[in-house]
Symmetry: C2
Subunit: 392 residues, 2 copies
């Protein structure tokens, strides 16, 4: 057993409303945290901290729970720089979109896919992310989807089967046949590696009935539903998420009043996960976070990191956007990027800094978490502990 | 004499249209750069690079000129977190605005001001900035303005006298008296430390006649004019900048057609410096970069780093905003953040990577400069050379 005390923390976010200032962030000023092996053993005022084997002086800077990034697409090969450049430069481009990435991913070796995944994971960790979910969805064959999930499962517990990202180009003339594959042989091959099943429920991808069939089949195979819902337009995704008790409805950009009410009523079950990096990189309409929060919905923030529509791994950047453009307060945004992400993954061991929680935390080069929005774009994460080990 | 070759550069931005692909960025694929002491000695295809004492392998990543941040306010004390938090949370706050920072700056010791300046400079350099301008303007007394410039001058050649930031609270009832001070004793005390004279020409700060008096007096004392112009509303700032052959008109958010035309015609003399961090952090209207570029204006990008309205030191973040929200192309934004900044400071030795230029350059953890916009918020600067010395 090894114990470490991080002391002289100017401002500690615990996400435990029972401690500190009593706010949802459970803020403690002049605080200390004691880590025992991979877990938090104690939090409280610095002056009352128990002795420990090792001491780390935070020099009055802020400590927050490590970010929980509950939505990413990191098993891929290639990039789409030319497509992005053309879109942002107002030039035409015969973009293959997701299909471009599917072709590159199928052509890559296992080692290449794993190296690319690890590169992005390390990049995210340097920015404070200690828990991340990632999906398949760029293979779209039984073998390619299963290998994506196998590679992901070696590096995170939060693995999502997204065979239903788009209809495979191989089934362009037979979408029903592709749904049969996704709910049949592909599911059977993928379920052993995954915890979650996901579907892109959107015009041009999968409609409500197809999405219900896919999520229901996934649930029967022991996977828990989550859903890409209402990103590009109104649609049945959010209602389906609530109906099927999905852990999360992701994107939530185009919502009717009924959608918002449903997410408010389902707050304990289905999280509304907002992904402002996607709106930033595609110049799309911002989700209305205030409307969701006003209705009582549980809101998570995540990067949606993927090479097409949101190629950022930066949770601090998403917080800055959420505050500036989605009108979340800095406190709400920090909660949603940590505790909110944990809710979206139905985890109680991460996203908070309370005794017994995983010792996943980030030290900021700033006196408070508000600086993540106040100082946009500045790399403020100066140290990261993951399961009690200094990882950056 | 020491020589270093940086080789296997996947994509090199030289900003020399005479080399490489002939574009304004002068892009060379599979390139090398040879540094001799503090200067660039050679650029060209990697296969033709001359031998050097030391070799650095860029591993197919991109190299760009170090950023030239031509507008910042870094001699200050305190911060304005509470004010920012209240503004972004929709709460009332009896903010003192610039006056809050003036009070904190006056109360700080020289050592505290210098330490704060250096902290921000090092932070900016880690993000690729190798040349920066900074201003006084939080002292507003003869002694406090002169000490701000003295401290700044120890760390950069680009020092700007901004006694005319706001009317000093000490002269609230006598703005004409304050202009007399700024053009008289304060100027005499400050001119030895500064290269530039600046004024905030805006309703609530200094009007056109006051601004003309201040810039003219500064010019008579050997300082070159630059001007905060047309940030919060229409006004005489841009026209005055062109009339006085100022090096730069900064902000340029609210422009008439006549203002845009004037900047187009003055492109060789007066740069339009856009500061998207300010619009981001105050939720203000974006400057219309396309309109300026269309009129032939020379456009620079800069951070405006200051604790009130734009507390970012990140040029990559400003590039991402310029592309997303001001509709610059990724190429234009990169040029404006390097060569454009150099033009705004009337420098020919920085902002380009050509033989004889200062060896100021940044290595990106990405295959191209486009990734600075394609991967928003991700800290992509992995190494920095300043005057030929590896500084990060």
């Amino acid at each position: 057993m090894t114990t470490t005390v991080i002391t002289h923390i100017g401002s500690l976010v615990t996400n435990d409303p029972a401690v500190g200032d009593g706010s949802p962030l459970g803020l403690i000023r002049d605080a200390a945290v004691v880590i025992e092996d991979d877990k938090i053993a104690w939090v409280g005022p610095a002056g009352k901290a128990p002795a420990a084997d090792e001491t780390y002086d935070a020099q009055d800077r802020a400590v927050i729970p490590g970010f929980v990034d509950s939505h990413s697409h990191l098993v891929f090969a290639g990039d789409r720089t030319a497509e992005f450049n053309a879109r942002m430069s107002g030039r035409g481009y015969s973009a293959g979109g997701i299909r471009t990435t599917v072709a590159a991913t199928r052509a890559a070796t296992d080692a290449e896919l794993e190296a690319n995944l690890l590169r992005h994971l390390h990049e995210a960790r340097r920015q404070g992310t200690t828990t991340f979910e990632t999906k398949s969805g760029y293979g779209l064959t039984v073998a390619d989807e299963a290998r994506a999930l196998r590679i992901a499962a070696a590096h995170t517990e939060e693995v999502t089967y997204l065979g239903a990202h788009i209809v495979s180009p191989d089934y362009a003339d037979d979408p029903a046949g592709y749904v049969d594959l996704v709910t049949g042989d592909m599911l059977a091959a993928c379920a052993p590696y995954a915890r979650w099943v996901d579907v892109f429920c959107e015009k041009g991808a999968f409609d409500g009935d197809q999405a219900r069939a896919i999520l229901t089949a996934g649930a029967a195979a022991g996977l828990i539903p989550r859903i890409h819902a209402n990103q590009l337009g109104h649609g049945p995704g959010v209602q389906l998420a609530v109906e099927l008790e999905a852990a999360s409805a992701d994107h939530c950009t185009h919502l009717t009043d009924a959608d918002v009410d449903a997410l408010g009523q389902a707050a304990a079950t289905t999280v509304a996960t907002l992904l402002p990096g996607a709106e930033f990189s595609t110049r799309a309409q911002w989700p209305d976070a205030r409307r969701l929060i006003g209705a009582g919905a549980t809101v998570a923030l995540s990067t949606d990191c993927n090479p097409g529509s949101s190629y950022t791994s930066s949770m601090p950047f998403c917080i800055a956007l959420a505050v500036r453009d989605m009108r979340m307060t800095p406190d709400e945004a920090l909660w949603s990027a940590t505790a909110g992400g944990a809710r979206a993954l139905r985890r109680t061991d991460v996203g908070t800094l309370t005794p017994g929680a995983r010792a996943d935390l980030a030290l900021l080069d700033a006196p408070s978490h508000v600086h993540l929005a106040y100082r946009p774009g500045v790399p403020l994460v100066s140290a990261v502990w993951q399961r009690g080990v200094r990882a950056h």
